[in-house]
Subunit: 212 residues, 2 copies
């Protein structure tokens, strides 16, 4: 690992594309390589959840103070609850050359990219729209109306796919996880992320500079 | 593999950085994934070489006709001999979604990038300038004067490293080969190289577009 800094990796994708599952397996198979950014939220804690593990649970006042103090990289409101990415955790990690993964939706992803142009944006999709519908139906947990809404949202979101850096086509879970891992590891060797070692090599080579 | 086209991969690097060895092992370990572009040259055929395997051997007149007819992607002159990359072979392969690797020096690499902005430029370097010097000396095949010249050239070439896409730090051969392979395979999933599948997904999702 040579990069100047750790990477901020944003994983988004259509609802039903399996990004949560990919993320879970990626962290299980490469526990030392990646850190998951934990979001702050004002939604109530559910049974089995723990503050600081699934989310940092905040009151509305606390959350709005975080917005006010510019302590969030991005935030959004869903179903009347705030969700956001605390900045300090992410910045501390990348300075220590650790990679951080954010699993956030598209608007948040674009905000992160604006603030950190080096952030790596990955877009998860199933092999086809049909397959996306099948997966949402197959879950058996959503009503027909909710599935219809999600597919409408996916249609709208597909307009933003070109703002991302890489596509993750989730056909086989294992392949998709490998793909995400290889993409991130390869990005570490990108010239723009290795200015320190390049400057050092140039400096070292100066002693061989033609002297006439 | 989803990309719209095959990739043009250019492997360059300092003399003594081991790009020839990396290339050889890459092609041996992944014979079905990559095609090596064979250069045309006017230099004489050496014993053990075969026309169309190491090079396409041409007369000066034939080579100059190729330049004239725009049949070369790039060409250069070394020690009074022409070397160049025939265009037709490369273009045929990428249209068939096959990846082609060009092992060429920096000026040629930059010409290829100008013509094909999607070409993937990889720069091979040893972990340090000291190591570069040690390797050139260790070969035992070059005079002190030639080694000095090569290091001078490396110093000059280091000014172009930022024109490349990725660094390949050749510390262990096996790791470097894996790294090259992973970088190329990851690049296949870059959004800009997958406009066909993105357009198709957008089209498929249109049936779910909100109708009001």
């Amino acid at each position: 690992m040579t990069s100047d800094k750790g990477l901020i990796i944003v994983l988004s994708g259509f609802s039903g594309a399996g990004k949560g599952t990919i993320m879970k397996h990626l962290l299980e198979t490469h526990p030392d390589d990646y850190n998951l950014s934990i979001s702050a939220t004002t939604r109530g804690m559910r049974s089995g959840e723990k503050d600081g593990r699934e989310y940092f649970f905040k009151t509305k006042e606390e959350f709005e103070a975080m917005i006010e103090n510019n302590e969030l990289l991005e935030h959004a409101c869903f179903n009347g609850n705030y969700y956001g990415t605390p900045r300090a955790y992410v910045e501390t990690l990348i300075e220590r050359r650790k990679d951080v993964i954010l699993e956030i939706e598209i608007q948040g992803a674009l905000k992160v990219k604006e603030m950190y142009p080096d952030a790596l944006l990955l877009f998860t999709m199933p092999p086809s729209a049909n397959e996306l519908q099948n997966r949402l139906v197959g879950r058996g947990t959503e009503t027909e109306e909710v599935i219809k809404q999600r597919l409408e949202i996916s249609c709208k979101e597909s307009g933003y796919m070109n703002k991302y850096d890489y596509l993750i086509i989730n056909d086989s879970l294992e392949k998709a996880v490998d793909q995400v891992h290889n993409i991130i590891q390869s990005e570490h060797f990108r010239v723009s992320r290795n200015q320190t070692i390049i400057a050092q090599m140039k400096e070292e080579l100066k002693i061989f500079e033609r002297s006439n």
